[in-house]
């Protein structure tokens, strides 16, 4: 099985929250390789990537009611989360 598929399976089987290091342990791959795999899976649309900030919305509370997960701008120290997405349907 390809390393990429192993990482994807490990994410799916984690059944909750896991970290890059956790995936490295689970797959036996180096953490850097896991990051490469995750990056590729994001590019493929199999994972969604979000940066998380705790900031208040820039136009005050209530000013971002239609936003996605957070109104703040994620910075270099922000937590990055990756979530599984269903594979795109084949035309």
């Amino acid at each position: 099985m390809s390393g990429l598929q192993r990482v994807l399976d490990a994410v799916a089987e984690s059944g909750g929250t896991t970290t890059v290091e956790g995936l490295a342990e689970r797959t036996g791959l180096d953490a850097d390789l896991v990051r490469v795999a995750l990056h590729q899976l994001v590019a493929l649309g199999r994972l969604g990537r979000d940066g998380m900030s705790l900031a208040c919305p820039e136009d005050g509370c209530g000013g971002c009611a239609s936003s996605a997960s957070t109104c703040g701008t994620a910075g270099r120290g922000s937590l990055v989360t990756l979530t599984l997405r269903p594979p795109a349907a084949r035309g």
């Binding site: 970290t19 180096d30 009611a65």
Partner: protein, 674 residues
């Protein structure tokens, strides 16, 4: 391609403005962020350009003439840092565009892929994509000394053989390897080594390839399956990277962890991690209350003194003194909004500390610790994200629940978000805590956040064991940034961004609320004497309405109409609790309101009276109620949008019930203990 342009790449004339003779070769440095690419650029060209760690220093395309006796003259481009050529940011998009122009003649003559020996796999991934773009390239390895200290050594020959491109080890900071790089670039530009990395193995688009490593290189094209299966192609790419990295990386047994790793062992440890988190937050609140207190006191003096006096004199001068306009402006807007604005220094300190923690990478660890707590109580992992956001502001937290795939997860999280203590509530905590607890104010504020977490945990468990028993736990991967020294610029930007949100709230919805509260407190209640603008506040519609509800809070020790009205106004926004109190007491005792700190004194009197002489338990009960009941109308609107009116109303009922049910024993037990 160099023959096609006059001085620089024709398609990049707008970004490459180096004055070079026609036909000058173009060499581009491409690499992941923070691998020393810009340092290498400066080392080679001597241009002395700023080098930094974060987009901003390499967002623009750097370019300079690189002149060397062995190389001749070359236009050297420093392209923005990119993780890959699958762009996920404008920087990466620019790099992708410049490297992989549709017409090969418009691409650089040579790409130097710069990668760190510490994170070789990431660089190899980028290299592989450059190779696939059919651009002649070579690999420059930086930070091999850092890698060595971490127990990582590289077999450069094996790497060159596996990757199928020339590999040069450089040390941009000290100049090590520069001559090797010059020679390799020169050879490559003459159609030598680098030409061999075309996607068809040894077939070079410009001809003249040297395929001396052809037998040992991991074949790029051969690993690719036929067809257009994106996943299969990605798998082939990944396996190529893994094979090359495995061949090249030698891990020694004397490897040392980085300080970031060592710190992580403490900050994310199952038991120690939460303790560290609590300690850090205690320090934050302690610093916030002690550092900002003098500034806040000064602003309070300014608002209650010169600003109010000036406004009164101006109104007198234009003949509006003593009219309802004076009441609106002085006792309403200046007392209410002005009092809220005295919290600007406090919020600035708080936001600066949070920005500092975020930029250092610690807040991401705090999120992991929080997640673990959520999971321990049986909440799904993905639900913790909106809850963490809720500590900043409940509105985006509620909106953020829409990323949860399961309807019950969404509902549970939407119902829990209001129990996370947003920054709007912080202003009330601080006012009350500094008034009643003096030096221990920071600890009291910190305690409110602990209570907030307890509310989430207990209510979450309650809902999971009753209304929402079955719930899937979808996978979620957390990628923690490495710890880093905070950058002043980024901390300042983050602080200002948060402070601006606070100021916009204060200048928007709070101003409207203050006007409405003023109008209600200027209107006589039915059966009472007086006329609009000329009625004691105790006889106003405002006081009468609050007075009708106040007995409900008597068992909790804060059954006065002043506190009840503040809580009612707090439905609009929690900051309005402060403006409401300030207005109420300013209207009731205009003379006393001109004295700095008078609001605190008035609160002490009010809570002492309403609690029968037990103000401290009553204040604690008030704070608990304030924390647990409905946050604001904006949150309610967001809740209605996400889960509908029925569940929003259910949520309000749950919040009010829990708030009252907890506040009453807090007061009653506190009174017994006192």
């Amino acid at each position: 391609m160099s023959e096609q342009r006059s001085a620089v790449p024709s398609c990049h004339a707008d970004v490459v403005a180096v004055d070079a003779p026609p036909g000058t070769p173009v060499v581009a440095l491409v690499g992941n962020p923070n691998v020393g690419k810009s340092t290498l650029f400066n080392r080679l060209t001597g241009s002395g350009r700023d080098v930094g760690n974060w987009p901003g220093t390499t967002v623009a395309v750097g370019r300079a003439l690189w002149t060397d006796e062995d190389l001749g003259q070359v236009v050297l481009l420093d392209l923005p840092g990119a993780v890959s050529l699958d762009p996920q940011s404008p920087d990466e998009e620019l790099t992708r565009d410049l490297v992989s122009r549709p017409d090969p003649r418009d691409r650089p003559d040579l790409v130097v892929v710069v990668t760190s020996a510490v994170h070789l796999a990431r660089g190899l991934y980028l290299l592989r994509q450059v190779v696939e773009a059919e651009v002649p390239c070579l690999l420059a390895i930086t930070m091999s000394d850092v890698a060595h200290r971490r127990g990582i050594d590289l077999d450069v020959d094996a790497l060159a053989a596996a990757a199928g491109v020339p590999v040069v080890v450089v040390d941009p900071r000290r100049g090590g390897g520069s001559r090797d790089l010059v020679r390799t670039v020169a050879t490559s530009l003459q159609g030598g080594l680098a030409g061999r990395c075309g996607i068809d193995g040894c077939t070079c688009p410009r001809g003249g390839c040297a395929c001396d490593h052809g037998d040992t290189a991991v074949p790029v094209q051969a690993a690719q399956p036929p067809g257009d299966d994106a996943l299969a192609r990605a798998e082939a790419r990944f396996d190529w990277v893994a094979a090359a990295a495995t061949a090249a990386v030698l891990r020694r047994h004397d490897a040392r962890d980085t300080w970031s790793d060592r710190l992580d062992r403490v900050t994310t440890a199952p038991v120690l991690g939460p303790l560290v988190f609590l300690a850090v937050m205690w320090v934050v609140f302690q610093l916030t209350t002690t550092v900002a207190a003098p500034l806040q006191g000064w602003l309070d003096s300014l608002v209650t003194g010169p600003v109010s006096e000036l406004a009164t004199r101006l109104l007198d001068a234009i003949g509006l003194g003593g009219t309802w306009v004076q009441g609106l402006v002085v006792d309403g807007l200046i007392a209410g909004v002005g009092m809220l604005l005295t919290f600007v220094p406090l919020m600035a300190v708080m936001f600066a500390l949070l920005s500092l923690l975020e930029d250092s990478g610690y807040l991401a660890r705090a999120a992991v610790v929080t997640d673990r707590s959520m999971r321990a109580i049986g909440l799904p992992g993905r639900a913790f994200l909106p809850l963490v956001v809720g500590f900043g502001c409940n509105v985006p937290a509620v909106s953020g629940t829409r990323v949860l795939p399961d309807a019950r997860q969404r509902l549970l999280t939407v119902l829990l978000v209001p129990f996370t203590s947003c920054t709007a509530r912080l202003t009330v905590y601080v006012l009350v805590a500094t008034t009643f607890f003096g030096d221990r104010a920071g600890t009291v504020v910190f305690g409110m956040y602990v209570v907030s977490i307890l509310f989430v945990v207990v209510v979450g468990r309650l809902l999971r064991s009753t209304l929402l028993r079955r719930m899937p736990d979808d996978p979620l991967v957390l990628d923690l940034p490495p710890y880093q020294l905070p950058m002043l610029r980024l901390v300042a930007t983050g602080t200002w961004r948060r402070l601006r949100g606070f100021l916009r709230t204060a200048s928007g919805i709070i101003v409207v609320t203050v006007v409405v509260v003023w109008a209600l407190s200027a209107t006589p209640a039915p059966g009472r004497g007086g006329s609009f603008g000329d009625v004691p506040v105790q006889d106003s519609v405002y006081a009468a309405t609050a007075g009708a509800v106040a007995p409900v809070f008597a068992p909790a020790g804060f059954g006065s109409w002043e506190s009840t009205s503040a809580l009612m106004v707090g439905f609009v926004a929690k900051e309005a609790v402060i403006s409401s109190w300030a207005q109420t007491f300013a209207t009731a005792e205009p003379e006393a309101a001109d004295v700095p700190g008078s609001l605190g004194d008035a609160l002490k009197v009010s809570f002492t009276e309403s609690s029968g002489g037990y103000p401290i338990p009553a204040v604690l009960a008030f704070l608990v109620f304030l924390l647990a009941y409905t946050p604001c109308v904006a949150t309610l609107a967001a809740q209605r949008r996400e889960v509908g009116l029925r569940w929003t109303l259910t949520g309000i009922a749950v919040q009010l019930t829990i708030a009252w049910t907890v506040a009453v024993p807090v007061f009653q037990v506190g009174r017994l203990l006192a």
